[in-house]
Assembly symmetry: C2
Homo-oligomer: 200 residues x 2
Amino acid sequence: MVDKHFFTTCVMNTALLLPIYQHPLINEAELRQIVDAHQKVNYQKGDFILQEGKTANCYLILESGLIRSFAHNYKGEDITTDFFTAGELVIDVLSLFQRIPTQENVQALTDCVCWQINFDDFQVLFRSIAGFPEWGRLWMTGKLFHFKQRAIEIATLPTKERYLTLLKEKPEIIRQAPLKHIATYLGVTDSSLSRIRKEL
Amino acid sequence: MVDKHFFTTCVMNTALLLPIYQHPLINEAELRQIVDAHQKVNYQKGDFILQEGKTANCYLILESGLIRSFAHNYKGEDITTDFFTAGELVIDVLSLFQRIPTQENVQALTDCVCWQINFDDFQVLFRSIAGFPEWGRLWMTGKLFHFKQRAIEIATLPTKERYLTLLKEKPEIIRQAPLKHIATYLGVTDSSLSRIRKEL
DNA sequence: CAGATTTCTTGTCATAAGACAAGTACACAT
DNA sequence: ATGTGTACTTGTCTTATGACAAGAAATCTG
């Protein structure tokens, strides 16, 4: 029974994590090392993965569920800064890599299954696996592009289009997240978003 | 005379570049190597440093002048995505690191003095200097934060406040860039921005 | 199941910003 | 210096969205 459980864990772990860390400069053995550095963690709906004022000590890869990060604006209202869906890396790079307290909260919107890796373990791999920094650079690059695009979208696309873009690209969010969180993410009030929905 | 010119170049080069690459894991000799990999390049007002459809082969550090990057939105209008002022790294990470054609244009708004480094030279240093990837990670982290903040600002701050924030944080831009470019950067029309200016 | 709490919808009114157009000021080139 | 174009301002009107408030619907909890 122990064996069977172990086997199951490994398979899921592998299927989820391998494609994420795949990189031409990372070989099989190294990939294995990286994957093995992750531990399974479950979060329940409402749990905080990271809280304002604390310093991140790990990041995680989301197997299933939905997570959002939010910060407070100048009025003290909470503003959704990002949503994370299955297969994504959930990380507060600023806090984790600069070792400073975060200004953001990261919270599970549904029950979640995650694979977590500690900063210290990550650092060891980052320094010992030659291709790992390049993998990380690529990942950062993609994320940077994402936020740049997002700024352009908020600045130029009409609200309805922004909603439709999100609906097309991440329908899980529209389905699972409460309207008010989607509204702050899109930069509109919840009543406006409700009216926009009605039109569709 | 040749010596004197060489000396001058080195001093300026060093004073500009050293603080940018300073990092606890990079020693004196390595720092020297990195700095020496840069070459001085001048651009004139209006010159393109990178053009839509081309793939970036270098990045540069701006000694003096003002640069903007812009993309086209769904209507074909050009939208300022970023401004770069003296002391900043001017780079299209997506194109440079993923080796793909860029969707952005990078253009000098004034005459500029820059220190340029080729991708190939950068790669050699990135792989041979142990602390360099960590320096890069920190830099990326800061940039990521910048774009995230920008998205929140556009989504939540009223236009006038956004203008005032920019004025406070990068007054050179307000002074030197044409109003229409500032307007697209802030996500307003140029006539609205003109009226906002009048109020102040 | 009942009450409480949260989420979402809808109404009315106010307001900021956009669209469009005309005019002025300034810069650049011949 | 004269003309051409670009940059900026200003006016009028329209429209999208916000603010506020009330009510309906759904969800949670004892």
